[in-house]
Symmetry: C2
Subunit: 214 residues, 2 copies
């Protein structure tokens, strides 16, 4: 009985790592599709979101099953709760990758990101990728320091988003309202993606240390 | 023991109703502060968000406590899971009310919503208010039909948001990029607020009927 239980608990962790990997790949592909106006890639991100949602469902089903059939001890219960929270955050990260891909699709075959924004969007995507990689590593091997380090990356993302707004609202902006709205939405999507990874990191920090971060 | 248990379970429901009420009030005040450039009201929304977060924490603590000290039967377990999901959605609705208030504050003492958008923003806020009222009623007295009716309101919100974009991107728009970005963000915030209420409604529908909606 206990062996089966441990196997199920392990499966929950494994699925979370898989989700982190999926949403990292999704945002990577979404960014490429956006910057290269690659509709096929964008469609792949959009249809691939069902995989992430399915993984989240698997986490829920596992947790639910474990609670229904066993009476987990307190530490396992904390782990199961944490898993549910993290699955919610990771699923949202997948949604946000889909939103980025959709912005590219809506302008296709024209680029959604004007020349002046390519560099800052590339930087935001790089931070998003690093953050997704970090949360995947933390989920694979729980680590309080790693979870805390996510916050610094999140600050970098916030600064980039501020920089993006400076460009959108500057006197030199010559791409009109629609393109500016796209840019602002993109900034928000990358920023929210990072926020959710940081949330997941905070959950892991609490799980490992028993204390809230900061 | 069972009496105490039932009382705790009932407290979870009561807190969810209270959360729905809080986030309805928050969005109502946020809209008023936005349309009347009332900074004091906006600050109240922003500081009040801690109340919503505290209520969500109370739901979590209750659910966690019930799971740790008891072994809930399957139907109660489903209820506890549903409560966690709904608390997450309601907390996000509170965040979104805060975002609306912040947009107003950022432009203060100038209005963030130009004359041409007042009518559509008022309509979006009215749908948001109706949706929040509906989810509060469903939480107070679970009702599958009411939960399904939320979807129609959500469709109304989506149509309003499309109408908002027509105004923002129309040739007649003369308020520049910054104001258009504010408008687009406001549209997104009201729309997401409705989405979360609909999510909560779907959870309730599943709880009552045992079937996913549609």
């Amino acid at each position: 009985m206990r062996v089966e239980y441990d196997a199920e608990l392990e499966d929950v962790s494994r699925v979370l790592v898989e989700m982190a990997d999926e949403v990292r790949g999704a945002m990577g592909r979404a960014t490429v599709s956006l910057l290269t106006t690659d509709a096929e890639q964008a469609e792949r991100v959009i249809s691939g979101d069902a995989v992430v949602n399915g993984l989240r469902q698997r986490v829920e089903d596992r947790v639910y099953g474990l609670l229904a059939r066993q009476s987990p001890v307190a530490s396992d219960l904390r782990l199961l709760f944490t898993a549910l929270h993290i699955a919610t955050d990771l699923e949202r990260m997948g949604d946000l990758a889909k939103h980025v891909a959709k912005i590219g699709l809506r302008r296709h075959p024209f680029p959604a990101v004007p020349e002046e924004l390519v560099s800052i969007v590339t930087d935001m995507a790089a931070v998003a990728d690093r953050i997704a990689e970090m949360i995947g590593a933390i989920l694979a091997s729980p680590d309080a320091q790693g979870a805390a380090a996510l916050e610094a990356e999140d600050d970098a993302m916030d600064r980039l988003n501020e920089g993006l707004f400076v460009l959108l609202l500057g006197a030199a902006w010559r791409h009109g309202v629609e393109s500016a709205i796209d840019g602002a939405m993109l900034g928000r999507f990358y920023e929210r993606y990072a926020d959710h990874a940081v949330n997941a990191g905070r959950q892991m920090y609490f799980l490992v240390t028993g204390e809230p971060l900061r």
